[in-house]
Amino acid sequence: MSNCHCGAPLLPALATIKEIVEETPDVKTFRMVFNDPAVQESFRQKPGQVAQISVFGVGEATISITSSPTKRGFLEFSIKKVGRLTGVLHELEPGCQVGIRGPYGNHFPYEQMRGKDLLFIGGGIGLAPLRSLIDYVLAPENRSQYGRVDIIYGARSAADLCFKHDLFHNWPQQPDTRVFTTIDRAQEDWTGHVGFVPAYLEELAPSPANKVAVTCGPPVMIKFVLAGLLKLGFTPEQVVTTLEMKMKCGIGKCGRCNIGSKFVCLDGPVFTLAQLQELPPEF
């Protein structure tokens, strides 16, 4: 379903920032609520979908919805400050208004993942889209439909880890759930694992049996993680990732996000590795 109030998919609906969590020095999670309760109620995203966030007078950016659809009444977006719009967003305070349109794109194949063990592999802000699926799967009403959940997550430094509360409190407390965190370089106050995500993956060497791996992170990390998973015996059908291409419209019109004949905004951002292998190498 799209946010097509009055059949206008390019028109954002107004929303108010309710809460801001500082995740890292350059990532903040914004909890937003639509000004119109009817819009809030009818907005139904699926894990992995994105929205276009507007700051009026500045523009729009494509951001993954990081909150699980099982949590109703608000949407969360975790946004890294990298440019113009994200820079201005980071200056906003609770009470400020933004625009949201969406949800757009396809979603993680959570239906086909039922009955399987899940392996999440994230790097940096790349945990944001995965979080919507992790929280969906771990929600009490869904938990029994999925097997073991393993989460491997890394960032440059301990300060750069997003969702610390989830990583160190919420998720490890869930049944059959393990969280493995790592940072790139050793650091005094860090007693956990040190090393890049793909290397940690190789070390942990999870078995591919009855498992789906879902990964998102910076392009280099994804590249090595995909190779690592294949080495561990995962088939391309068992591996799911999300892609990033520059986007504007989000609805297949502006022609910007194509990889071959596919539009990331309509046919993605979620692809299996098998699907990626069919696409021209232009991402």
Partner: protein, 344 residues
């Protein structure tokens, strides 16, 4: 289908009739051989005979820049108001290649998320086509399975003949318009039908038909080829090919606000030939060089649009051929690719 004769002398009256309740947009002579679609204020401004317009009429459905909505922030809440509605328009004298281009744009702008701005204009616009009696040297429309006599996409078609046009409706909307123009129309005489038939047969013969056999199949299999790098050495990245193309639809979205608290969100044409088109925050660019960008354009014309919408992304209008400052010629590319395809 009922055809009528529309005599040249009746045209001023017809144009006035149209202008009484609609905006009339028709080809107008700008200079020498240069014609452009533009709003008509006086009946005699309409060019009744022209080869092909310098630029396509696409901007009347998909403007170069277009306000999407206005935003205002007063004391309390932000407010958004959609941009103004589309006025009734008659697009007069569209050549078959440009009609075909509208057919190719429709599935992009409709589809799963109908584009409200395009739809408003599309639904308020009557498309009056004009068969080609004198195709230009660069025309190669028949390559794509239609030709100078094609009516596909038109509400009404005009067929040039001595003393005026034969005119016929091709949609319910066209029928309705013709019915209201009835007092200005005459029955068709058999010799007029014959004349039009002959003219169009000659015109169809005159259009160069390129052989596309194997081209799409070759592109399906050969994403990486040194051909694009070679070709791209000449490309300036100016983007004229895309702006002048009747089927190109890429756009950018940007906000403009003079005062902090109010402004307009616009969209405006963009081009995959530009370096920053796919440049992302952080510096990653999936199409980092001209070769990749040029390839994307021709892939879009000859493969991607077909894959996605089962419609060619090129209509053979010849504009990019005429306007490219360094003579990058899609006809040449088609025959080059055709050649490698058959060689392999």
């Amino acid at each position: 289908m009922n055809k009528y004769f529309l005599a040249k002398e009746k045209l001023p009256r017809l144009f006035e009739l149209i202008m009484a309740d609609s905006c009339l947009v028709a080809p107008r002579q700008i200079s020498g051989h240069r014609y452009l679609f533009a709003p008509v204020l006086q009946a005699e401004e309409v060019a009744l005979d022209y080869t092909n317009s310098h630029l396509p009429p696409k901007n009347y459905l998909f403007p170069q820049t277009q306000a999407m909505f206005l935003f205002q922030q007063g004391e309390g809440e932000l407010r958004i108001s959609p941009a103004g509605a589309a006025s009734r328009t008659v697009l007069w004298g569209i050549r078959p290649c440009d009609l075909q281009a509208i057919n190719a744009l429709d599935p992009v702008f409709f589809g799963d998320y109908p584009d409200p701005l395009y739809r408003q204009k599309r639904e308020n616009t009557l498309l009056v086509g004009q068969a080609c009696d004198r195709p230009a040297a660069q025309c190669f429309c028949s390559t794509f399975g239609y030709g100078p006599d094609s009516s596909a996409g038109a509400d009404i078609m005009l067929y040039p003949c001595t003393g005026g046009f034969l005119i016929a409706a091709f949609s319910p909307r066209g029928e309705e318009a013709l019915a209201s123009w009835q007092p200005l129309l005459l029955p068709v005489r058999p010799e007029q039908e014959q004349e039009v038939g002959q003219t169009l047969a000659v015109a169809s013969q005159a259009v160069k038909k390129l052989d596309l056999n194997g081209v799409k199949e070759w592109l399906d299999k050969n994403f990486q080829s040194p051909y694009w790098t070679e070709l791209a050495r000449r490309c300036l990245g100016c983007g004229i090919c895309t702006y002048s193309c009747p089927t190109c639809h890429c756009f950018d979205i940007f906000d403009y606000s003079r005062k902090q608290e109010e402004g307009v969100r616009y969209r405006g044409w963009d081009s995959c030939m530009f370096a920053d088109f796919t440049l992302m925050a952080g510096g990653h660019n999936p199409r980092p060089d001209r070769a990749a960008r040029l390839r994307n354009r021709f892939m879009h014309k000859l493969k991607y649009h077909l894959d996605r919408y089962n419609l060619a992304g090129c209509t053979g209008c010849g504009r990019c051929v005429r306007l490219c400052p360094v003579n990058i010629d899609i006809r040449e590319i088609i025959s080059d690719l055709k050649e490698v395809a058959t060689r392999e």
